[in-house]
Symmetry: D2
Subunit: 293 residues, 4 copies
């Protein structure tokens, strides 16, 4: 099958390779001419036979919006745009509507797999009309892992990104779970080999998982993680998961705790704990520590 692919960065570049390995014809476009197969989106559209399929794999938000705007003018009725980036699910309906006015179909695809996807396949969570999604099956089959899992048509437009967002929310809390357990084990004297405890858990336990395997890799490289700072970014999906939970009055205590732990990890000093310290000093005369200059 023929497909256009916009965005050839770490993810998009590997996806082009995996699609080509599966025998598909990929026309890639990137603003970096060294990565790009074509000069611009007009040429990309010209190189594809109708009905065209174009996979957008660029940063969520303004960049995705701009690419979709441009595709609105270069694509034709009956063509399909797939947004495979980390877009917020609330953007999908807007994009579907904008493209729909020009007769262009829209499908959203949440993609998991990170740096391991080229080799193992990408898990795909897809949203859109059944008649829009079904013709894309050969593309999804090439990208997904082998075997019965790793692909789902989750529901209407937006459902793919929504499912991927929840996946990431769960991921936040699972990482936090291992991290909390690791810190506690490292803290006590009686446990003398925390890395080997983690390694042993990889079989026969209730908590075995791919993330646990990765934790062992990380500990093998740096047994007490002394080289790292306890500083974690968050990439949008965790925040959106909590916002979706608030919209739907669903309590998410563990996922939210994981998000807040990341926020706190990025603060040099905690403003709120300054206030707690100040209050303790006010009522109890408890000592405070001076801020560092």
């Amino acid at each position: 099958m023929q497909i256009g692919l916009v965005g050839l960065g770490k993810m998009g570049g590997n996806m082009r390779e995996r699609l080509r390995n599966a025998g598909h014809e990929v026309v890639g476009y990137d603003t970096n001419p060294e990565l790009s197969d074509v000069k611009n989106l007009v040429e990309l559209a010209d190189r594809l036979a109708a009905p065209r399929v174009v996979w957008v794999m660029v940063p969520a938000g303004a960049v995705t919006q701009s690419v979709i705007d441009q595709l609105t003018s270069v694509l034709k009725p009956g063509d399909t745009v797939i947004d495979g980036g980390n877009s917020r699910w609330t953007d999908d309906e807007k994009h579907a509507e904008e493209l729909g006015k020009h007769g262009i179909r829209f499908v959203d695809a949440g993609v998991s797999g990170g740096v391991w996807g080229l080799q193992n396949g990408y898990a795909l969570m897809v949203g859109g009309e059944k008649e829009h999604v079904d013709p894309l099956k050969p593309i999804f089959d090439a990208l997904k892992p082998e075997g019965p899992y790793g692909y789902v048509h989750a529901g209407k437009v937006g459902a793919g990104h929504f499912a991927k967002m929840v996946h990431n929310g769960i991921e936040y809390a699972m990482m936090q779970a291992y991290a909390e357990g690791w810190e506690l084990l490292e803290k006590v004297d009686s446990v003398t080999d925390v890395r080997e405890v983690f390694r042993s858990w990889q079989e026969g336990t209730v908590i075995r998982s791919w993330l646990l395997d990765l934790a062992v890799h990380a500990l093998d490289a740096d047994e007490h993680l002394q080289k790292l700072r306890g500083y974690a970014e968050d990439s949008g999906e965790g925040r959106w998961t909590v916002e979706a939970a608030i919209d739907n009055a669903v309590p998410l205590p563990a996922i939210t705790a994981s998000l807040f732990a990341r926020f706190a990890s990025r603060q040099e000093d905690s403003p709120q704990m300054k206030m707690v310290a100040a209050l303790r000093n006010q009522f109890g005369g408890h000592a405070v520590e001076a801020a560092e200059k």
Copy 2:
């Protein structure tokens, strides 16, 4: 190798079978004569050649204490007691001291595997002196899963149960993570097939795990879990994990949130939310709901 096994319930019975399948000679004792190989602990000790090894697999707390007390009088210097139950790690040091006064060795073993252990092997986390643990290796090898994982000598006396306790704490938060994500997906309209979303996650995703596989099994049996009440017991290790964290000033927000969610799940009505409702009514005249009769 020869071993005595006290407690032949769901766990102990399967462990006897797995040990015998591996060629070990197991003398089992249980208060239920239909399960027991011997009449009492005296006979159990008589049937074992010195130095004896006795694995205790009975409920933590009073029952374990009672068995260890009895073993103190029937065993001899140089013999070894292994506590494989779900004892609190703080009990281990006491047991080691009591038995040590009689020259009897003590080793603690945290055991994971549940109903799947007979077939897949039990993950073992062991605490004790190296010269006490090493001679027991053939027993541990028979119980553990095949392959390089599933066994660790975690540290001093108590370290085995401590590691198992933290394992369970992590387990609580991982289960909570999937549960929160599942509830959110079930709540929104755009995602029309939550079970298939979970199934798809089993390959290629960051959150693939054995627990996720079990979640899919559960959803296959009851797609929306309509047959179940949202009611979850907790079995000690989760509480002890939080207590250990408090003792060590380690923040465990996700694990603790998971424990509290279980507490709340068992309340018919929430006393604290009665107070919140009462306060809202007091200052804002907000409506309250009457308790059901």
Copy 3:
């Protein structure tokens, strides 16, 4: 001073009374003709001398938007609209812009005080340009409590509602704090008179507050709150506080926990705890409870 007041419900009606008691001339409008001083907003505008001041005190969201739309056409350049409802701070900038196109000034006012405001005064948090806010001082002075506190010009347009929103977020966590403590005291046998414990705290303690006084009132009416269901609504500001925190990467663990406790209090059965129960059953054979028919 002369002022128009749109919305004469529980809050607006009392505010009209308090303003009149202070000697101001209030022209009130409400869709309920029995409450209203005028037939419509045109008449309201006619009855006021330029430059007019109109205080809007109607439900946030669509109703407030509609009133502001209508005021855009009946007011004149130099007039001022004050939104005293519970609007989201993000709406304020939009309203200021819309009205500003017609030369009409916009000021937002967060109002606290509930059913006690008529008697004690309303705490006011105001946002807007200094030259728009200053001429309104006589109105604010009449509404606010006597004494040096209860009024602040918090900052630019939106700052009033933002400050009020944070006030409510803090309120959620304070209520939750008392509620958690109360439940724990009620649970233990050794404390035989929890109501008297709460009553005693009203002087000399670190936790004395108006909310504590209200808690004692509530316990005096119903010592163990047996007449109430543990069910608490939330009214928007708590959710917006958490959303604002997420936008600003500020961790709010206690406020968010309080919001989630309210969400959970409204669930007949907890979907997420069904999943936890299902998982425990899968790996450990733990008993589950059937959902009630």
Copy 4:
């Protein structure tokens, strides 16, 4: 009335003064001879007429235990020991039993008031048998604030310290509530005067309280708390509150979040966030930050 007072530090010294101001005869003992009225506990007992009352106001744990051990030998049947320190409620029953063997009565008193107690009075939460507590009323009346509040006989032995412990748990969450709100207000640009917002809240709002007054004092001294480090100790009662909640299966999400925030505030770098950073790097190639040397 006559009373012995052991421990004349910040709290005990002020209590001696307040008791003497009320006309009571206080014999104080402290290991610091400059503060002490007597040379030792034997002399203290000699100076008091039977039945003696001795108030112990020393650090909880080993020091309190040691003083109670010594009092066991110098006091006589019918005498009363009051433990007014911050003892864990679980110690009270032990102390009551030890003293009871010698016919000595035991009463526990949780004391709140900090540095303000000398002037405003101390809130007292008392546990013990009614016939042991009632004769002490003149002492309690002298220490408590004027007016109807500030004293409660909460229940059996231990109930006083339990009630005080819960008071402190609530205090943790209230401080956290204000602190979270303050950080959020400080973070946004539209609110230009956070200190004045806090000041305004002191009247007419739902969240007015003594702690809020103290927050304003603190902000008056240091508007943005720039001189302080965001570092907060915890003093035992917060931890015990969470442990009591776990023992009683009571969910305390806000209080526990407040305790954990303090733990985190004291960490130079967060071990658990190192693990989260390591995992993000493993699966996504996300950048990590190097630990500082």
